[in-house]
Symmetry: C2
DNA sequence: ACTTCATTATGAAGGACGTACATAAATCAT
DNA sequence: ATGATTTATGTACGTCCTTCATAATGAAGT
C-alpha cells in the first residue's frame, strides 16, 4: 500500500511515510492497552525517561533535549505527571533557576503495573518480529533521530542569523524569528 | 540512549519508543523543509494519497481506512486542503451519500514543487542509510501497521459487544462506548 | 558593586491532530 | 414502505506542540 510514485529517489519519502504510519499504529495500540490508565503518549515518554535516570532527578531542559521537543512542552507534561502524583518537582541545589523532575514511588508503581498490559499490546503489534528485527528497527530509528539532531544543530548554527554565541540548542527551532 | 530497564521482553517497548522518536525526528525535519509552505503532516498525508490514486477521486471513508485515522479526521483534513485549493470535493454518482476527494492541478503543482526541498530534507535525515536499510526500515514499519490493522480488527470483533454484524471497520475504535 | 547579557522555567495564546457523540441524508433490507 | 445502516459532517473536547513574552537566577565585564 502507498507506493505513491515509482521513482528511485522516492525511497526516502516512502520510508518516511512508513515511519509515520508505524508511529500511528503503535500509538493506537498503546492507547488501547493503557485504556483507563489515562497517560498520554507524551507524558508516558517523559515518565519512562525519569524512570531510567538517576534518582536525584532530571532538569526540564535536559528532558526536552533528550526527548527532542521544546522545553515548554516538557513543562506541560511534567505538570500532568505531577497532577497525577507520578512525578514531583524539586529545586536544583546547584542552580536555583533549574527545576529537577523526579519520579515518585507512585510513578514507579504505575510503570510496574503498566508494564504488563502494555507489553502484551506490544507483543501483539510486534507479532512475528524476530529479536533481530526488533533490534534492527530500533537501531535504524535511533540513527534517524541522531541524524536529525546533528542536522538541526548544523542548521541552527549557520541559519543566516549570525549568532556566534554558544547556542547549545536542544534541537528545536527556537532560534527562528 | 533510553535503555530503560534491562530486561529481555523490554525489547518491544524500546523499539516502540524508538519508532516514536524517529517519527518526531522526521516530522521536525519535514516541517523545517516545507517551511512557509504550510501544509501540516496530516494534510500532506492525505494529499499524497490523493495524488497516488485514480483521477476520479477517493471517498472520505476509504481515505480514513487507508490512513488509519477516523473518518471525521479526514473530513477536517480535506477541509484544509480544499481551503487551500489543493483538493476538491465531488459527489459520487454511484452513492449520493459519499463524497469523493480529488486532487486539483494546484495540488499536483504543490506536490511537484514540494518534492525537491522535501527530498533534500529526507536525504539529509536518511544520511548514510543504504538503500537496503531504507527498504528494510520501510518493510518493518509497514508490517507493524499491518499487525495493528489485523489486531484492531480482531479486538473490535469480540470486544464484549455482541455486534454480530459485518463490521467492516476502518481500524478505529469507533465501536467503543 | 553595578550593569549587562544569557539561560531556565513558565505564563499566555494559538494551531493542528485526533477522538467521541449526535445528526441529516441516502441507501439497503425485509 | 418502513426501519436499520452507512456516509459525511457538526459540535465539543483533550492532548501535543509551538512561538512569544516574562520573571528569576546566574555569569561575566567594567
Amino acid at each position: 500500500m502507498a507506493r505513491f510514485t515509482a521513482g528511485d529517489d522516492t525511497l526516502a519519502l516512502e520510508a518516511a511515510t512508513a515511519v509515520r504510519t508505524a508511529f500511528h499504529a503503535v500509538e493506537r495500540v498503546r492507547a488501547h492497552g493503557a485504556q483507563g490508565r489515562g497517560l498520554s503518549s507524551g507524558a508516558l515518554d517523559i515518565l519512562m525517561r525519569l524512570s531510567a535516570s538517576a534518582d536525584d532527578g532530571v532538569s526540564i531542559g535536559d528532558l526536552a533535549q533528550s526527548a527532542g521537543v521544546s522545553s515548554r512542552n516538557v513543562t506541560g507534561l511534567v505538570d500532568t505527571l505531577e497532577r497525577d502524583g507520578l512525578a514531583r518537582r524539586v529545586p536544583d541545589r546547584h542552580d536555583r533557576r533549574s527545576v529537577l523532575a523526579q519520579i515518585t514511588p507512585a510513578g514507579r508503581a504505575w510503570i510496574e503495573s503498566f508494564r504488563r498490559p502494555t507489553q502484551a499490546a506490544m507483543a501483539a503489534i510486534f507479532r512475528d518480529f524476530t529479536p533481530d528485527e526488533l533490534t534492527q528497527l530500533r537501531h535504524l530509528c535511533l540513527r534517524l533521530a541522531e541524524n536529525q539532531h546533528r542536522l538541526s544543530r548544523h542548521l541552527s548554527r549557520n541559519d543566516g542569523t549570525d549568532t556566534p554565541g554558544r547556542n547549545r540548542d536542544d534541537g528545536t527551532d527556537n532560534t527562528r524569528p
